[in-house]
Amino acid sequence: MHVITQHFNQPMKKILIIVPAYNEEDNIRGVIHKLHHENEDWDILVINDASTDNTSAIARETGYAEVISLPFNLGIGGCVQTGFRYARNKGYDFALQFDGDGQHSAEEIHKLLAIVKNDEADVAIGSRFSRKHNGFKSSFYRRIGIRIFEWFSYLLIRQHITDHTSGFRAYNRKAIHFLADHYPSDYPEPEVVILLGKNGFKIRETFTQMHERKGGISSIPLTKGPYYMIKVLLAMFMSAIRSKIYHYERRN
């Protein structure tokens, strides 16, 4: 790590913003501009998950983002994992996952980055629920689901995480390297929490303001709610009972 910093005269840590995007032509331009104006030193990587619209062309047009297009739709898991592989190959120090639909706010990135930069945790999750009064309203059923996740994951890894489905996360180098090889598919967010916890990564959650979705559709259709819950709980449980893949001891 020191070799590379000296070699390229980069005192700054390299930060990559991974933006998974599937048919986000309405939002992607705004998202990229906001990210770029928030901090020009961040590298923005849009992973186009085989969109059928102009997402990729619009993202390239901005000139601020690197765009990688998957040959076919891999779903959010495979899409984000591509970003981790990129980050690993290019030697990034920190990676941020930031949805392409505009529901995350770029200003809140600093909060997440601070946690991983100060080495308070390996992974920082931007939560909708850490405080009571916030602009986010979710349906009754979704809230029940979220409670179940919270309880179940505490049971499995003994870390308090309130928002398992949040896709607003910051990762340090160790987490990037780990997830580049081991990232679950389908509905990966809750499973990743368990996977990381199980393998000794420290997760810290912080409240982040989120916007209502502007366009596009949620990755979890409501009709598939119960199916989603069962599938994810099973995946979480399986992740927890699997043996450690990675032996990682935190320094502090």
Partner: protein
């Protein structure tokens, strides 16, 4: 008509011949497919063994009765169904394993393909790559990983 039905009913031998014929041709067909490399050997082991079991039981009819008795099954053909179902079950599990393995590999290939395409575009455009020499990364680069095997 009546004669035919009674002749079939009385002649259990015919059924056995058909059973032997069918199970042997099944076995030979699978054998042929492996020989022509249309099925990989590793995947076909279950097919071969189950078709062998059919051959054994179609030739050695008494064996089925013994097996049924051992299992406490009153009606011997039911034992045959049991074996059949178990075999199909095992084969389907084997298929699920293989499908999972393949989809994992396809996912990794798609990701690597996308990353390489991006790298290629960067090179074509003549832009300097971000890390021309990735001194620290060379030791970190793992051989093309097979998460399935891990």
């Amino acid at each position: 008509m009546k004669e035919e039905i009674s002749s079939i009913g009385s002649n259990a031998q015919t059924t056995q011949y058909i059973a032997i014929f069918v199970s042997i041709s099944l076995f030979l067909y699978i054998f042929y497919l492996i020989r022509k490399k249309k099925i990989k050997e590793e995947y076909s082991l279950l097919w071969l063994t189950s078709s062998l079991v059919f051959i054994v039981f179609s030739i050695w009819r008494h064996g089925l009765e013994i097996f049924a008795q051992m299992m406490g099954i009153a009606y011997p053909p039911a034992a045959l169904f049991l074996i059949l179902m178990l075999a199909i079950f095992l084969i389907l599990i084997e298929f699920s394993i293989n499908i999972s393995k393949l989809s994992e590999r396809i996912k990794i290939m798609a990701q690597e393909l996308a990353l390489l395409k991006d790298e290629l575009d960067t090179l074509k455009a003549g832009k300097p790559t971000e890390n021309p020499v990735r001194d620290d990364n060379f030791e970190n680069i793992e051989p093309v990983d097979d998460p399935v095997k891990k």
